[in-house]
Symmetry: C2
Subunit: 164 residues, 2 copies
DNA sequence: ATGAAAGGTTCAGGTTGTCAACTTTTCAGC
DNA sequence: GCTGAAAAGTTGACAACCTGAACCTTTCAT
């Protein structure tokens, strides 16, 4: 539950249109992602968890928070990934309540492979010249700086600060 | 091994980063969309179908194609929307195999309301100045022109230009 | 008229997701 | 030290989403 800022939507025309365009792009991207995952017999959710683990082992709780879902949901997804040998569950020596989920070699490979293939599925980007892509990158960066620092497939630079 | 399309990914650094940023943005946007839908006791899938119908009645088959899923899936979603009075199924007089799904007044209202609230959920955009948003809009437009002309929540103004 | 093909539906099965208990482990206060 | 509250994960029940195959109805080309 967010603080719910007081101000009602100003909603200028440009913002409106950007939101619409974004929605289309999101739909497109989402489809490509699901397809790429399915090609490796992974579901979207499984691929997301695996992508999250590229940065290293992670407690279930953290996975659930990042994906904005209930911890009980993660249990099932990790179960299936574990059964296929993509991840393992290890107890955290520092806090035995915690289970650290870690990607196995196979899991890392699958995730990296998927990331590469995703990179390849960037058809829409081909429409832009290099300097335009740089422009777009800067704009997106700025947008995301303010918002949640998490990510599904993960900007390689981790955000490893105190839990606050 | 897959057929492996001829060109292996050139994958320059900028494209790679843009893809990653996009993934983050997609995740963010997706969450906001689900939340906005849930606030109106709609699921994401239901909201998508309802949004699609803003432009007018549509055969089940077309809905399935636009959402890239099996027609049998749409049956259930439309069932639930129909039970709640958001849509109706009418037989197409021109081809009686076809069932035209149309949003009711309630359905249109809900969809429009959700769209507005989505507009409001544009926190990340606030980080950009107006001219930057215009820049972003242009870049996104160009990207989407090339790709599929469909959309989930629907750019109200279709992009009907010549391919250039 | 007959048969193939298209649009929808139904059914079975798997995955995702929520919510409410429940177990184990940790930690604060006494 | 002991007790109890709180946190991390799990389990079970239930709903929605999604696919694939089988099926019915309607259309259309022989």
């Amino acid at each position: 539950m967010q603080p719910n800022p007081v101000a009602p939507p100003p909603a200028d025309a440009i913002t409106r249109e950007v939101v619409d365009l974004m929605a289309s792009l999101v739909a497109l991207f989402h489809r490509e992602y699901e397809e790429a995952a399915a090609a490796r017999s992974l579901t979207g959710a499984q691929a997301k968890v695996l992508a999250l683990l590229r940065r290293g082992p992670m407690p279930m709780r953290h996975i659930a928070q990042t994906l904005s879902c209930e911890p009980s949901n993660i249990t099932g997804i990790v179960d299936r990934l574990e059964n296929r040998g993509f991840v393992t569950r290890e107890a955290d020596p520092q806090d035995r309540r915690v289970k650290l989920v870690a990607a196995t070699g196979t899991g890392k490979d699958a995730s990296e492979e998927l990331r590469e293939s995703l990179n390849f599925a960037r058809e829409p980007l081909a429409a832009l010249a290099e300097d335009e892509r740089a422009q777009l990158r800067d704009l997106l960066r700025r947008m995301l700086e303010g918002a949640g620092p998490d990510s599904a497939t993960g900007p390689a630079s981790a955000v490893e600060h105190a839990p606050s």
